[in-house]
Symmetry: C2
Subunit: 232 residues, 2 copies
Amino acid sequence: MSDPQGLRIDRKSTSDQAAGALREQILQGQLRPGTPLQEVSLASVFGISRNTMREALRLLVYEGLVQHSPHRGAAVMTLTEGDVADIYGVRRLLELAAVNASRGAPIAEFERMGKLVEEMGPSSLARDWPRAVELDMRFHQYLVEFLKSERMSNLLQTTLAELRLALVLVDGADSDDAAATQVAEHRTIADLLARGRQGECAEVLLRHLNAAEAKLRAVVAVQPDASVVAGI
Amino acid sequence: MSDPQGLRIDRKSTSDQAAGALREQILQGQLRPGTPLQEVSLASVFGISRNTMREALRLLVYEGLVQHSPHRGAAVMTLTEGDVADIYGVRRLLELAAVNASRGAPIAEFERMGKLVEEMGPSSLARDWPRAVELDMRFHQYLVEFLKSERMSNLLQTTLAELRLALVLVDGADSDDAAATQVAEHRTIADLLARGRQGECAEVLLRHLNAAEAKLRAVVAVQPDASVVAGI
DNA sequence: GCTTGACAAATTGTTCAACAATTGACCAAT
DNA sequence: ATTGGTCAATTGTTGAACAATTTGTCAAGC
């Protein structure tokens, strides 16, 4: 009914579009972890039917971005410290394997990573934290594509999306510092990869991941307490 | 709060129950790959609403058991040879990592695998192919639990479920032979694991997986042609 | 004080009936 | 053989209704 004109090579169902919009709001941090997501209100916000909204929410539940309890409704997923540990276990497995798989890969693929790293420098200087996160994700996404596995790339995609639920809790204070070291480490990783020194690269990557895990575990370990305090 | 003893483990929504029933039919091979799954007819079969049936189908789509094209409907997923290769890539990554992670695990966990292997012997003699498949899956599921990762166990679960889509295409002829060697290999793997010889175990497991992959790739490489011939 | 139970309100779970949008097939015309 | 146009079938989406369940409130009872 809506959208009278316009070339609609839409190709996406209404529920997918709604899920996409909601996903964006969650990953941008506009909807913080724990925020309840009620079907009727959301449906009216997006101007769609409740049934369609339900489908959209189900999709995000599958992706791990939304929590659902029967008859109690949906809410933005809140990660526990255990979740973060689990997620980094997956990342170590995938990304270290990807480093090994990169031996003898076409040069173009290494160059792609190099160009991405160059893009990251300016953005961190501009203190565009969301963009820094975005480029960070893309870097690791590229890395895992060395595995040439649709399912593994998919897994990393959803896993990184979950991780962003914790990243939005990082306050801007240390983000500048974090972004700077991040870019440096990514550059090191990309260089070692392109030079075929996978062994050293794996070591650097492992430290890179472990450091990030420690920081994020600290973040989610503190945050839940605050909500408990606020609750009662 | 409520009844102490769970008389009603109903606890599952209608759509989940329908999805469970449909999943069972697919994995048992009663609904072969490519079979169209129409919302209205399925809904009437299960005696539920079309909307609820849609939710059930969406769940199976997410699990990779059902294919979906917009406005064209859903159908039982048909694996390509590439899919099988991809799936075995995931299995190698997960299961080989699990072998390494099993070092120093509690004895009880090794014993659990041993008992499972003992169960497998008689069932293969009884030529209960579905049960042999079921126990095979459980074996590898146990193995991956050495990783102590909820997400990785989940991944293997869905990955193995997808694989069963190809297993149902295996005709009973060579299944006896396959089951026998399977049990022997599982026994070897379990023994090597319990004795702490992870290195050798990894080799055996790798050959085990590669052999299975070769067989299944051959199966799915042949099957689709038949449908193409039948289609046109 | 603290539980207990009844009750009301709100939200989700599910059903139903309708209509819009898209696909695929069938058929005619060039 | 290709094009183009109906037509039926199926999916996509809507809106309204009702059932089931959770949650909060409040009074009664120990």
